[in-house]
């Protein structure tokens, strides 16, 4: 497949946005998610 520059940019862009959003989410939600998980593991 030939390198398609616009596609490359869009693909990279979306991936970057998603990773950034994931980071945002981790900073607010990770503790909460794993709090419950850990409760269960203890059990």
């Amino acid at each position: 497949m030939r390198l398609n520059l616009p596609r490359l940019i869009v693909g990279l862009g979306i991936l970057a946005i998603n990773l950034y959003l994931l980071k945002v989410y981790i900073s607010t939600q990770a503790k909460l998610t794993f709090e419950f998980f850990l409760t269960l593991v203890n059990f």
């Binding site: 979306i14 959003l21 939600q29 419950f36 269960l40 059990f43």
Partner: protein, 884 residues
Amino acid sequence: MLLRLIQMGIGNLFVLGVTIHLFRLLRTTVPHLNIPIFGFLWIFSATLFTFLLGIFGFLAPAPMALASLIGLLLMGLHFLRNRSRYVVTFSSLRTRFKRPRFTLVAGFLAAAALIQLLRIAFHVWYTPPYVHDTLTYHLPNVAEWVQKGRIHAISTPVLRSYWPATFEVFESWFVVFLHNDLLIQLGCVSCYLLAVTSVYAICRGLDFGKHLSAGVALLYAYTPSVAIHATSCKNDMAVAAVYLFAMALLVDLLRVGNSSSFPLSRRLLLIAMAFCVGVGTKAYAVFIAPGLILLGIAALVKHRLLKGAILSLHPKNIPSTGRFTLYTGLLLGSGVLTFYWYVRNYVIFDNPFYPADFKLFGHLVFGSGAAPDPGTSAQSSFSIHSMWQNARNLVTYKILDQFRIYTDLNRITGWGWFNFACGISAVIYGLLFDKRVRFIILCFVTSLLSLLGWVFVDDWHGRFLHFFPPVFAIAFGALLIRLRIRWATAPLAALAIVCSLFNYLAVLNVGVFSKDDLGRLMALPPLQRSLVNADINYPWVTGSAYGEVLKHVPEGEIIGYSLRKNDVIYPLYGSDLSRRLHYIADFPAGLVDSMNSRGIRYLYFPRAVERFIGGWMPPYGAHQIGVRGGQMATWINLNSRNHEYNAGEVQPGKWTHLAFTFSGEQAISYVNGEIVAALDYRGEVKFNRTPHFVIGERSNFTPGEPFRGRIDEVSLFRRVLAQREIREIMNRGISLTESPSNQSATTPDGLVAYYRFNGNTKDLSGNGHDGKLIGYAKLASDNGAPVPGAKGCVRLPGVIGNGVDCGESPELRIASNLTLMAWVHPDSVDGTHFVAGTPYSGGEWWKHSRIAKVIRDNTFTQITRHLYALKSSETDRRTGDSGD
């Protein structure tokens, strides 16, 4: 038990037979649509069968099994006569599952589906229903119907019980044979599966591949709010399921147009049936219809079917008389499931929408004009303001998941990791670059905005939105197709999988049951797992308190009860739903007579009521300050008369200083140090027996809506401060060093409590009235009031039940000569928002305090915290024996 299982088997066989029969007549040649069609027809058949028998008083295992047996015999005869046609049906079913080719992707998807189903199975089997709403008004219906063997309007103070209850009829199907609520969550699970398979069908309709469609459906299935709701017993999953089912049928119509194998009339019939089930479940199904209407019109216009659609409804165009009868019958059945509730309410209450009001263009058509009870008020009109505010809540609660989303469904949980980290960008991409997906997104958004505009502002309405998250998953699926770059799609898919894994971990425990609770529940025999074995805190009452009540009331005795209008009652029926309950409406005046005449000896009283027993409670209370309609609001209760007034100006997004003084002869309100009202009120402030001093907490005791914004520098004095002093404190704060050792030395005269919220909720007056953060109230480390030394404040989310509780010390109850001050920074000044003070209680509860007189008359013995027994020789003996 064996007999019950046999009866259950016969009943289920019959419903399955009816479903197969209907499916044979209504199916398509498109396999992916056939799956949800079959599922929907099964739900429909079970519900209609339960309803028809229930309404005629045959909601019991024996008559239902007998009716099923007769039905099965008739179907058997029919089958023998038309064997050849059934063979065709079965072979068509077989081809769908023919030789599935095992690939790695298929295996992975199957495993993902399986582990979610295992989680759900765990919750169905081991945990009892626990969501507050279901315990107050959904499930008491089920319990009463199954116990009495008929579907009827039950006698209850919880008026929401009278809302449409088609879903509760479906839930009864899982309860009636076992006479136990062990499997009751399967009602929700069925709807969850219908929703997920419908999402699969929507994706196939958009020409996604099989694996991708299954992946997208699973991404939706893993959404925390949806996955949690699968075992919640709430009816919102049912509305989402029929919405997505109708959407799948319409997306297919958009794709292929009319086809001889699946004529338009059949498609429209199924959509109408789905819509009827939706409206019979919850009236908001109407509010989310616009997106479907838009999609339907687009499909009809695209394929030039608009005229055909109208003509197809004409009886002449229904192919044969047999089919005409079938269609009419199914429409009638659906209509009965929808309109029964509205007609019943019209007959009983003169209002089809009881207990909500119904307005049209601002004119009251049905109802009293003041739907007074929790959860029953309805906006009854479309409002841009509501739409905007609800959309803001949506972003906060669902998308950003700001609060304790995964817990007891108080916030009904969020949309989780995937929708945030992958879904949002995919939706934006779809809107910009993908024409086909753009239209589907627009249809979903139309439904969403319509819903948000039709319901009043409340974050609790987030539970109506389970139909919406597929938009993220679908857009994401479309993105993976369109990008067509392997190195980009692979990491994106991996990211989605990781996010879904987090979603899964988050809902493993629904967040309500502690490990001790789970241990206790799992150790019990399956048919005895009830909420009374779990120490869950509901407002006023814990799970075990219900157990205490059941322990002391002998089996067979009726438990009389009197409740506030939003209290939990369901656990008292017991997990086998055998306990008889009776709501004592004539309370308290005719309480004893009413109990005696019915032979009731026991009275259940939740703490909400009990806490006022023996005390005198004014209809309104104490002294409070707040914000109302852009002004400072003041409430004060003097000699049992409530006074409230507004004055001054409070702007949103701006720090404003509020102060209130009361000398016993005059009440003065200050805004930013200026007197805005001075009223000659004489008397003493009256308090409840145990009022808490609270900040920002909108509870059942405080007026208006929850406060959203920031509050800082709250202080309470036991003397009337002069304007000069108020200004001084407003500008400089109260001069204290924050070292506890020095506090008493520098405490200004008469200071009772002082909260700076500089990283803690301590009372800096030295009197020890330290505050406690309730719910989602948070301390903010910046943006404090414009006062030197203000390093932080308390931030309130605008959610009911959140704030700072400063305790109930008698020192905080000042009857006259007081000053109350606070800096506020409200996000909104529309409506009424409580800021600080001692709460009041509504007039509704006031009457309950008169039980005190009955108690004083030595009529009752208190057995447990919530249980009272009428004094009579027999009851005394029994309670004496119980050794409590």
